[in-house]
Amino acid sequence: MALSDKQLMQKKIQACEFTLTDVILYLDSHPNCPDGLEYYRKHKAMLEKAVADYEKTYGPLTAMGVCDDEKKWTWATTAFPWERSEN
């Protein structure tokens, strides 16, 4: 089944986050590795952009991610991720 635009954007965020989770574990035991640090910086920037793009269209991913121009509190009125159609 083809992924929706929302699912594609979620996938991008999940990929960036998982990449960061993994490189963070690596850097914990290799804190002086310049390649690791560069890889971390690159994916952190990618993640920040992907999260900002997603939140503008589909609502907040964290309670700190409610967009500035929202008229109401969208954190607790948009779906939670355990609903089947939401991920």
Partner: protein
């Protein structure tokens, strides 16, 4: 998913170790009304909450409780630093010390290890939220009892913060319960499981 932030919710800076006090305060980590049980209770119950507002309340309070677990652990950690053998024995910390040295392990003040049997997740929002209201009161009174026994202002201050959060959470859960009750109709006046019996 969750992310860790390297900052306590509220500062903990205790100058004087006090193993006897650590033995009491650790109950708010692993005891029957402690922060670990609170967090697991709310984060388990949220899936069957019948509306997003209550899902949100349970998610956010369950998350804050993880931060409280960290604060209690930090208090116990600081109260048990640099202890001499004499202090361990005289502070009544010897039994804990034999099993855990000065590691942080979730037990009640009585020494009973943490157990999930101290909470429920019933799949019934009214039952769950009623338990949550009671849980916040029980945690609040445990902090009140601790404050009766604590003189050190360095320890009183973060404990007073945690006590106040129990009061706020009680208010929020009260609002959540009212929301769920407002969703009931004449066919379910006696509030039989609004999560399951749609």
């Amino acid at each position: 998913m969750w992310k860790y932030q390297k900052l306590l919710e509220h500062p903990v800076n205790i100058k004087n170790p006090d193993p006897a006090l650590a033995k009491l305060i650790i109950t708010q980590l692993g005891g029957p009304d402690g922060e670990l049980g609170a967090s697991l209770r709310y984060l388990s119950q949220r899936y069957s909450a019948p509306c997003r507002e209550v899902q949100g309340i349970l998610t956010d309070i369950g998350t804050e409780e993880l931060g409280h677990m960290e604060m209690i652990s930090a208090i116990v950690f600081q109260l048990t630093r640099d202890l001499s053998e004499k202090e361990i024995r005289e502070g009544g910390f010897d039994a804990y010390f034999v099993d855990h040295t000065t590691g942080i392990y979730p037990v009640a003040a009585t020494g009973v290890p943490f157990s999930a049997s101290i909470f429920q997740s019933t799949g019934d929002a009214i039952a769950d939220l009623s338990e949550d209201l009671a849980a916040e009161q029980k945690a609040r009174l445990t902090y009140d009892n601790l404050l009766r026994l604590i003189d050190d202002p360095d320890v009183r201050e973060p404990i007073k913060f945690l006590r106040e959060r129990e009061v706020v959470h009680f208010q929020r859960f009260g609002e959540g319960l009212r929301m769920v009750q407002d969703m009931l109709d004449s066919k379910n006046f006696y509030a039989f499981n609004p999560s399951f019996d749609k």
